[in-house]
Subunit: 206 residues, 2 copies
DNA sequence: GTCTATAGACGGATAGAC
DNA sequence: GTCTATCCGTCTATAGAC
């Protein structure tokens, strides 16, 4: 198996310990100090290697950023599918959406995509895939409840869940939490209609 | 942050044409290419001056970023107050929240604040002020409609409006628009209760 | 107020030894 | 695969002439 001079190993994870350490280090730095701090020298230091080795695994920094995004996105889609297979899928999905690290990383990549066009399309593609899967699952839940899609479209629930959870996480990171509980209750009112509880426990005082 | 040696004119706008041009240029570059592209050299070029002059008006780049944020925030609060005084306040507020440029700039500053702590507290303070004003106004509208704050808290409406509009704008920028119309309808259902249309103003309890 | 010149740090990326 | 050494570009910021 001969390797081209310029075509280096920027493929999927699990093949090289160093490569995986680099991806992990980059994600951590992006989370802690923002994407602008994830320079080749700093990710190398965090991963315990020398800077030039970064370019052995990732010819350009964009390749590294894309690897971080792709592996995070793939892991997230796996988590989504697991959540949708949960006994209380809505509870599990809301919990997944409310993960602070996932949201923060997503924000960093959105900012990055502002001047790295290669990353922008990747984010959009992932966002579409995520929403399609979630919407299909919600549609089934709504259908099982006999809810008319015209009254409450599954895609609207998916979008609304994304909107509320993401913004609440961002504000919480900033230190703003006023009104969050009340807003979550609003979302719960919307979302409770989709939850088929195993024991139909009703604890909502109407 | 270097403190004290040189105290230059980094105060409010309107006093220097060059200073205002710098602030405008910085905002434009942040919008078009992201905050990382708003370097001293590039904002100088866009403003038609030489790089060192940037530091005459703004000792550090953080000072410049803060000026951009402060002036944008102040203008936005003015717009909010005008919208709340509109005959159809909810329509006007929703329109204000849906401004793509305002949202995009806000996102850039949130990303910036990740590793520029001085900016973080400024954003939080502005966010709190904005929400307080909006919530107070919504509370009056809800009260005029005789709606129990326990059923629909004004602060929850304010948060929900922020959540949905901001996320929809961000997704639209990315090229994702599926489900947006349906979600807006959902928000409208929530928000319509607050709108006192001119044709219905004769019905005002309390 | 605006400029030229430049210091000094940091960054991406490559060559080539081992 | 990993290293040392290095090139070259860009950045923030300052000094000082005008």
């Amino acid at each position: 198996m001969t390797e081209g001079v310029r075509r280096r190993r920027i493929d999927g994870g699990g093949e090289s310990e160093t490569r995986d350490a680099l991806v992990r280090a980059t994600a951590q730095i992006m989370l802690e100090e923002g994407y602008a701090a994830a320079t080749s020298r700093r990710v190398a230091a965090r991963a315990g290697i020398r800077p030039p080795l970064v370019h052995y695994y990732f010819p350009t920094m964009d390749d590294l950023y894309l690897a971080v995004f792709r592996e995070g996105a793939e892991a997230n889609l796996k988590r989504l599918k697991a959540a949708l297979a949960d006994q209380q899928p809505m509870r599990a999905v809301l919990q997944l959406h409310s993960d602070p690290k996932g949201t923060a990383l997503q924000m960093e990549f959105m900012a990055l995509s502002n001047h790295r066009k290669a990353i922008r399309s990747e984010i959009a593609a992932y966002g579409l895939r995520f929403r399609e899967i979630e919407t299909a699952a919600f549609a089934m839940l709504l259908g099982a409840r006999g809810i008319d899609p015209h009254d409450l479209p599954a895609v609207a629930v998916s979008v609304a869940v994304t909107c509320v959870t993401r913004t609440l996480v961002m504000e919480t990171e900033l230190g703003i939490t006023g009104g969050h509980d009340q807003t979550r209750r609003l979302l719960d009112d919307l979302v409770r209609q989709l939850e088929l509880r195993p024991s139909q426990t009703d604890h909502s005082p109407d």
